[in-house]
């Protein structure tokens, strides 16, 4: 190009809408959450009533039982439901890869993923209904005791986990299928020529080559599971969410309640900050562990 280059404002002009949005709805809010966590503030009062109270919010939440219960529940939820969802997703992907009629099966298993989480909760709430629900009907038909699934503190959270697994297994399946498709087929041919068995092919070729995708899914799924809200909120009874006996109180639900029910915005912000660091640390540990095991 022969013309003299002036300062080119165009690229900045093109990213400006996105950048503006990013500053208003991401950068400013992140900073403000940290700021708010040192403040005492109730939005019903004027803004001027905001006052600095140091670490008091943190002190209060660390002394609150509900806060620790919510962390425990979220971890329980993530640690149990995530490996199961991933295992089912990977199994289905391996079974459906290059299978006749695979796309029909894939569509069916994918259905729950595209349904809204509230609709899913509504359907399952009806199935879990202790008196009229179909699940207890099946249980009594095969001779198992009926249960109050969502109303009993020991089964409430596991029942929600089942719904979560049911909902997201198809999503993991699709991601794994995409990953499997990216493995060059000649590798499998070579393994066959060498007389490798199916199990050793799976563990020596498929899984190592899927490692980047397994890493991606593990990190994203853990972040997602620790932030579960919709299913828990609706299935545990909306205005009574978190019950029975705090057995379904998860981290985001706790923020929601402290913030929008009790209107303790400073404390809710402090919780958000703590949860934020928890999720950050967990993701970093996972990346470390899984990267470390990679064959490269």
């Amino acid at each position: 190009m022969s013309h003299i280059k002036k300062f080119n404002y165009l690229p900045y002009f093109f990213i400006s809408p996105a950048l503006l949005h990013f500053i208003i709805f991401w950068i400013f809010p992140i900073a403000f959450t940290f700021f708010l966590s040192f403040m005492d503030y109730n939005p019903l009062n004027p803004l001027t009533s905001m006052s600095y109270i140091g670490l008091k919010n943190y002190e209060t939440i660390f002394n609150s039982e509900e806060f620790w219960i919510s962390i425990k529940n979220s971890f329980y939820f993530a640690i149990v439901s995530q490996p199961i969802t991933m295992a089912i997703g990977l199994t289905l992907a391996l079974l459906l890869k290059d299978r006749k009629g695979g796309s029909i099966f894939r569509t069916i298993i994918f259905l729950p993923v595209i349904t809204s989480s509230v609709a899913v909760s509504a359907i399952w709430a009806w199935m879990y209904n202790p008196t009229y629900g179909i699940i207890n009907d099946i249980f009594s038909k095969i001779g198992l005791p009926k249960r109050n699934w969502l109303g009993d503190p020991t089964t409430a959270l596991p029942s929600i986990m089942i719904v979560d697994i049911w909902m997201w297994a198809g999503y993991h399946m699709v991601l794994f299928l995409a990953g499997l498709q990216s493995i060059p087929p000649d590798l499998y041919d070579a393994a066959k020529v060498d007389g490798a068995g199916r199990l050793s092919t799976l563990f020596k070729i498929t899984i190592p080559l899927l490692k980047p995708i397994i890493l991606f899914i593990t990190v994203m799924a853990t972040i997602g599971a620790l932030q579960i809200f919709d299913l828990v909120y609706v299935l545990s009874g909306m205005e009574y969410a978190g019950g029975p006996a705090m057995s379904t109180l998860v981290m985001i639900l706790e923020i929601y309640k402290v913030c929008f029910r009790k209107l303790w915005f400073g404390q809710a912000a402090a919780m958000a900050v703590v949860f934020f660091f928890i999720i950050l640390v967990i993701s970093l540990i996972e990346i470390r562990l899984l990267r470390g095991g990679a064959y490269t």
């Binding site: 809408p17 990013f22 349904t115 009229y132």
Partner: protein, 279 residues
């Protein structure tokens, strides 16, 4: 012998797949069947599997009961506006990141990308306060503007636009084509596959969005579909109108489910796009 083993194996594999399919589809079938039941039948013991006297009444009753018509309208307004805005901001920014060099480009792009892994709740409270101070609670603006831009969209568009050859753009420049026309007349039409993936993906997430609407909307008139389902469920829990609730959920989800099945291929491409795999 070997052949027989293979046969058995195939049967087992298909059996496993079909069991998973049945588990996936059963709740939907149960929902649809329950929506045809009369009130008496829905509270009968033991519960029936198939409706004995199928009725369409529930659908008419529930439509007015929670104002599903209004909720559909609100959801459509919110979703369509969000999709248009996301397409606009993402394609422009993606174009800039893919086809220009400028100071701070990598830094800004990395910042955008980092929000993909940042938990969104860290921005929740200030965003709520912003909406509150603006007086936007109970307006559809509050459901549209905070979602007008998507880091995922920027990433997707950038990745796709990188595959468009620079020579094409340069030859247009030689012909005296201004930059905005290059974007509108060359790059945008060539990016149609990525644009449709992004549009569908945004449509789906916006349509199903629940947490944020729950916080900023209290007025029934502004309910979107997920909020309407929630309020339907709330009232039916009290009076045991599960047949009505299921009719409502059926109306609210079936059209979208059918639409989603039709465009499923594109939705799946959108998810693989999140992996940075080829579209």
């Amino acid at each position: 012998m070997k052949r027989k083993n293979k046969y058995i194996e195939l049967v087992v594999i298909y059996a496993v797949i079909i069991i998973f399919c049945l588990i996936s589809i059963f709740p939907f079938v149960h929902m649809i069947l329950s929506s045809f039941k009369t009130r008496e039948e829905a509270s009968k013991l033991p519960p029936t599997w198939l409706p004995e006297n199928p009725t369409l009444n529930n659908f008419f009753e529930v439509w007015h009961f929670v104002g599903l018509g209004q909720a559909f309208l609100n959801s459509i307004v919110v979703t369509v506006s969000t999709v248009i805005l996301v397409i606009f901001t993402s394609s422009l920014a993606g174009f800039s990141f893919a086809k220009y060099n400028f100071k701070g480009k990598n830094f800004i792009f990395t910042m955008f990308l980092s929000t993909l892994v940042l938990p969104p709740f860290i921005t929740l409270i200030p965003n709520y306060l912003l909406i509150y101070w603006l007086g936007w609670r109970n307006t559809l603006w509050s459901l549209i503007i905070p979602f007008a831009c998507s880091s995922y969209g920027i990433f997707l568009m950038r990745q796709y636009m990188l595959t468009i050859p620079n020579e094409l753009l340069d030859s247009a420049r030689v012909d005296g084509c201004p930059e905005h026309k290059i974007f509108l007349k060359i790059v945008l039409p060539l990016s149609k596959p990525a644009l449709s993936v992004l549009a569908l993906w945004t449509f789906m997430t916006s349509w199903n969005s629940f947490f944020w609407p729950l916080i900023v909307i209290d007025s029934k008139k502004m309910y979107t579909i997920p909020l309407a389902i929630m309020s339907l469920l709330q009232s039916s829990l009290q009076v045991r109108y599960y047949h009505l609730a299921m009719a409502g959920v059926t109306i609210a989800t079936l059209p979208l489910l059918i639409f989603a099945i039709l465009v499923q291929k594109w939705l799946i491409k959108g998810m693989s796009g999140a992996l940075g795999l080829k579209l």
